[in-house]
Symmetry: C2
Subunit: 681 residues, 2 copies
Amino acid sequence: MNGTLSETNIGLHVEELEQGFQVSLDGRVILRHTSGNPCLFIGRGEEKMDMYRGNFDIEDYVEERFGLRYSNVSQAEQGYRIEMKRSAQDEEALHLSFEVEKGKLVLHFSNELNHYNRFWLRLHAEDSEYVYGCGEQMSHLNLRGKHFPLWTSEPGVGRNKRTYTTWQADVHDKAGGDYYHTNYPLPTFISSRGYYCHVNTSAYADFDFRKSSFHELHIWEIPTSIQIETGETYKEIVSKLTSQFGRQHALPEWTYDGIWLGLQGGTETVQKKIDAARDSGIKVGAVWVQDWQGKRVTSFGRRLNWNWKWDPKEYPGLDEKIKEWKREGIRFLGYINPYVVVDDSLYNEAKEKNLLVLNQEDETYLVDFGEFDCGIVDLTNDKAFSWYKDVIKTNLIDFGLDGWMADFGEYLPIDAKLHNGISAKVMHNAWPALWARVNYEAVKDAGKLDDIIYFMRAGYTGSQQYARLLWAGDQSVDWSLDDGIASVIPAALSAGMTGNGLHHSDIGGYTSLHGNKRTKELLLRWLEMATFTPVMRSHEGNRPTDSYQYDHDEETMKRFADMTDIHCTLAPYLRELVEENAQTGVPVQRPLFMEYETDVHALNIQYEYMLGSDLLVAPVYEQGRTTWDVYLPEDEWIHLWSGQEFSGGSVTVDAPIGEPPVFYRKQSKHKQLFESINNRP
Amino acid sequence: MNGTLSETNIGLHVEELEQGFQVSLDGRVILRHTSGNPCLFIGRGEEKMDMYRGNFDIEDYVEERFGLRYSNVSQAEQGYRIEMKRSAQDEEALHLSFEVEKGKLVLHFSNELNHYNRFWLRLHAEDSEYVYGCGEQMSHLNLRGKHFPLWTSEPGVGRNKRTYTTWQADVHDKAGGDYYHTNYPLPTFISSRGYYCHVNTSAYADFDFRKSSFHELHIWEIPTSIQIETGETYKEIVSKLTSQFGRQHALPEWTYDGIWLGLQGGTETVQKKIDAARDSGIKVGAVWVQDWQGKRVTSFGRRLNWNWKWDPKEYPGLDEKIKEWKREGIRFLGYINPYVVVDDSLYNEAKEKNLLVLNQEDETYLVDFGEFDCGIVDLTNDKAFSWYKDVIKTNLIDFGLDGWMADFGEYLPIDAKLHNGISAKVMHNAWPALWARVNYEAVKDAGKLDDIIYFMRAGYTGSQQYARLLWAGDQSVDWSLDDGIASVIPAALSAGMTGNGLHHSDIGGYTSLHGNKRTKELLLRWLEMATFTPVMRSHEGNRPTDSYQYDHDEETMKRFADMTDIHCTLAPYLRELVEENAQTGVPVQRPLFMEYETDVHALNIQYEYMLGSDLLVAPVYEQGRTTWDVYLPEDEWIHLWSGQEFSGGSVTVDAPIGEPPVFYRKQSKHKQLFESINNRP
C-alpha cells in the first residue's frame, strides 16, 4: 500500500487492515477483506440447465473456487484501485476500482480474469441485519437465513416441497418449484443497515444471506460493476433506487372506476356478463378478455390462440362493442405475449423477415407450450423489436384496446441463438425487461401512457420503469402460504422494496391442478384483500368450470358489488398513492417497517401491509376464520368496520367475510374518507 | 522432471506428458494429469449436518477448491514422488508418492496441506466404463451416471423423491431417503476396466461417476492413501479385494436346516408357532426372537427393550427351552445393538465405568430412538469394547443363543465426544465396522465361529471380515424398485462385489408406514426369492398386525413348507458356494457378468443374479404377474420348473407364485440336485 489512504470521495472511507482493507460508505462497512477472510472469490463452473415449460432444473459443478486473498490498495484518479490476487506471487490479478459519485459507491471489476466464469463477492454483514427485495419474492420478505437463486422462471405450483400439491406438480410436470422461484427476480436488495445494493448483471446469480458476517453474492460471470447507495430511511433508499432504475408512470384515470372483470367466451357472453354485473351493482371499470384473439383447447384447460389479432368469429362486432362499452365507462383489455403461434400469420411474417429467435442449427426455435409450438420474437434484434411494437400498436392499440396482460417473458430457452450474439444464458434474465420495454415504447410512442395500461408478471432490471403494473402471476387456488392467497402479500412488498410499487393479483387465484378447486370462501377472501390494493381484477382461472366465479350466486355478486364500491370510494386515496409512487418510488403497498422505522417487531412481518401511510391491511389468508390476529405498530388506530380504537401491539378483531382487518390512522387527513366506507348507504 | 522415467515396479508405467504425467497399472491408465486438466483438487468446506433418527441432512458450503495444476515427477527409492502445487510459484505443495507392491498400486498423500479439509481426486475413466460396488447399494448396481455420497445412515423409507411413500416419510419424519442412502457404504469400487480402487478413509466421501473422462473421488479430508489393484476377471478382482479386507467365515452347518422363523410374544407363543410350523411341514432351522429381552410399546410399533438380558417374565423357562429346541434341531437366535437403554442395568453399569460416549458437555450422550433414550457404548475405548464383548459372551452366548441380529451401527451422532479423541464426524462411518468387530471377537473368543452366526445391516471398511452375514435392512412392504422387494437384489450384488458375499433379507419386508401393508402376494414372492439366497429368514414387520404373516392361512403355510424344502434340498450346493466365498471371496449371489464376462448386455442387469455358477435367478418383483421376462447369457439353460431348454437371449416364462424364474446350466455338475427339486414327493 502506498502511503496513508485519505478520503477523497464524500462518504467513502477506506481503511488499511493487517493484510487487508475495509471500505465503508456513510458509516456503513461495505467490504471487509483480510487474507484470512477474503471478500472476493473467483472460479470456474460447469452448469447443467434444463427447461420444462418455464421450469428450470439447474445444477452447477464448481470445478474451481478460490479467494483472492492478497490485496494491494492504491489511490486512483477518481477513487481507489485494489489489486487482488490469490497470493502475492500469483500472476493473475483482478482489479477492483471504486469511487463515490453523487453519493453512490460503484465497484468496478476488471476483465483480466474473464476466463473464470464464477464470481463470489462477500459484502460485510451483521448478525442483526435484515435484507429485503431481490425482486418479487413470494415466500419471504426478509431474505436473511436463506439463499436466493435469481433466475426468471415459472414460480412453480405449490412452491414448497412439503406440500402435496408441490409433490404432484413435481412428479407430473417437474413444475413444483421452491420458495425462491419467481417470474421476477432482481440482483438488487435493501439492507436494514441502510443501503441498497445492485449488481449490474443478467447472468444467473444466487445471493446467499445465510451467513452471519457476510452476504455472499454469487454470479455466473465477473460483473462489470456493483453499486451501493445509502439512505437514512427505507423510503429514502427506495426513492434513490427508483431514481436510478426508473419509476412507474401513474395509472390511467379510468383504472379507479371499478373492478377489471376477467371474462371470456365471445361478444355475447361478455355483454351478458357485463349487464348482469351492472345489474347486481358491481362497479365494473373494465373487462379483461384474454381470448379476444380466439382460443385453442388443451388438456391444461382452454388456452389462447397466440396470433394477436381480433378474432371476429369468436368476437363478432368487437370493434364496435369496444367503443360502445367505453362510452358506458367500461374499458376493454386484452392479452398478448412475446410468442407467435406456429404457422399462423404473425409467425409466418416474422419468420420470413428473420425476426424470430433461432436454434443452434439456425432454424426457427420452437417452444413447446403444451400441445402447441411457438416462435419467439427476437427482441435483441432492433427490427424485430420495432416490428413487435408495431404489432402492438396496430393490432391492439389501434383496434381500441385500453390495456392488456403482457404475459410471459421467463421462458427464453438457454440454447437459443440471438441476433445480438450474446449467449441466451446471459439474455434469459434480461428478456422480461426487454419484453416490458416493447410494451412501454408501443404505448409511449402512441402517446397513450395516460390512457393505456398493461400488466406483467415477469421482470428483471429495467422492469421498474417498463413494467408499469405487476400482477402476481399464477397462484394456486388454495390457502397455502407459498403459492396461495397469502403469497401475493410478500410478493407485493418485496417488489415494492426494489422498485415496482404497483401490484395486484388474480382475484381467487389461477391454478386449478392436482385436485385444487377454487372455493367461494377463497374467492371472497381474495376479493376483500384486492379491494385494498391499487387494482382489482378477477380471473376465471385455468379451469373455469373447476373454479368458483364471481357470478356463481347472488351473495357473491353482492359481495363483489360491495367491495368494488369500497374500492371506488378509496379512489382519491389510491390516486394519491399511485401519484406518490410515480414521483418518489415509494410503493403503494408497503411493509409496516417502512412507515414505522423503529419498530423492530415489524421487520419480520410479511402478511400485513400498509396501503400508503394511513391504512394498515391484514388480510385473512386462512380458511374458516371469523377472527384474526393483527400486529399494530404503536400509533392510534381505528378499526375500519367497528370504529374501535387501538394503540400498538397484538390485537384480535372480528373478521367475517366482507370485513377484512383494516385499520386507519386516527390522525390521517383522509379520516373522513375512511369513515365514509362504513357509512355507505 | 529429472531424466526419463523408467519402470521400476512391475506393472507400473509412468509417462511424461506436456505439463503433466500419466500413471498406468497393468496397462490401465489410472491417473492422467495436465495443468489444464489436473487430477487433484483441494479446498476447504464448511459442512452442515443434522441427524434425525439415523437420517442425515447434509449440506456443504465449499469455500475453496482449486486444482494442483503444477506437477513435478521424480523417482523415489520405492517408486515415484510427484510434487503438486497450484502453480510453479506457489509455496504450498502436496506430495503424491506411489509404488507398486505385490501388484498393488498405493498412492500416498503427504500431510503438508492438511489445513485443507476437502479433497478431490480424478481417476481416469472411459466412456464405456461400468462401475460397481461402493458397499451395499440398493438402487443401482452399475454406479455410472450418478454420484454416491458415502455415509452410513438409515437408507430411507421410499428412497425415491417421486414416490408418495417417500414424500410422506420426508414430510412426517425427514426419513424419505434417496437412491444413495444405505446402511453400508464403502469407499471401494470395481471398474469394468479391470481394477478395484479403495480409499483409506472413514471421512464423509462422495464418489462421482457422472463424468465421461474421469471419476471424481471427493473426500472430506486428505486421505492417507488410496490403493488400486487390477485383475483379469471380476472374480479375480473380488478375490484380491477380499484378500485385502477379509472374507466371511463360513456359515454354521445348522444354517442349512431350514428357515429362521421370526417370532415374538413370549415362550408359549413361540412354542405354539414352532409346533404349527412343523405340523405344516415347514422346515424350521431356527427361531429368531427379537424380543427375548422384553419389549416396549411406541407409536411406531412394538419396540425392543434394549437391555440385552433374558426377560424371564416375557420368556419364562427360556433357558431350558433353548436347549430343548436345540435338541429338536431348532436353534434360538436373539437380538442386540450397540445401545443401552437409559436407566436400566447395563446403562447404569456402563455409565458408572465411563464406558459411554459423551456429549460436548462431557455428559452421557443420549440418543432419541423414538420415545426412548439410549446411551452409546464407546467402542473406541478398549475397556468399553471389551466390556461389551463380555456382555455378548455372558448374556447372549453363555445363555445359549446361537445367533442374533446385530442391529444398527449407523447412528453415531456427529457431535459426540469419543474416547479415542477422533472427531465423531470421522468415526461415524467407521462405527459399523467397530460394532461388527465386537460381535466377531465375542464369537471368536468363545471359539464359536462354526456354531454361532449374527447378521448385520450397517457396515464400512472392515465389515467384509467382521460382518459375517448381511441382511438388507428395513425394506418397505411394497413393490417399489428403490425400497421394496426388488431393491434387495442390487443390494446383495453390490455388497458382494465389494467383499460381503453372504446376504439375505426380511422375507416380506419390514416397514409398514404411510399406508403400506404387506400383502400375501408380496410375502410369497419374497419367500420364493429368499429360497434362492444363502439364508431364509422371516420377519413379522414393524407392525405385525398390518402385515400378512406366514401363518395367516393354510395355503401360505404350505408355500412356506414347499420353499423351505427346496432351500434344504439346495443345501449341498449352497454349502459349496458359502465355502467358496469363505475361501476366495467370490460371493454366493453374483451379477450375471461375473459368470459371463464377455456378455456386454449383462453389465447393466441388476434384478437377476447368479446363485453360484450354475443357477440363474430372476425374481418376480412386480405385482400381479404370472409370466416374467428373463435375460439369459449365452449358454445351455434348463428352466427349473418346466424342464424347458433355452439358449441365450430374452425369454418369457410362466412364473406363477411358487415357481420363480430359475434356470440351471445344463452342463452343471449339480444337474441331478437341481432336477430333484422338481421331482420332490
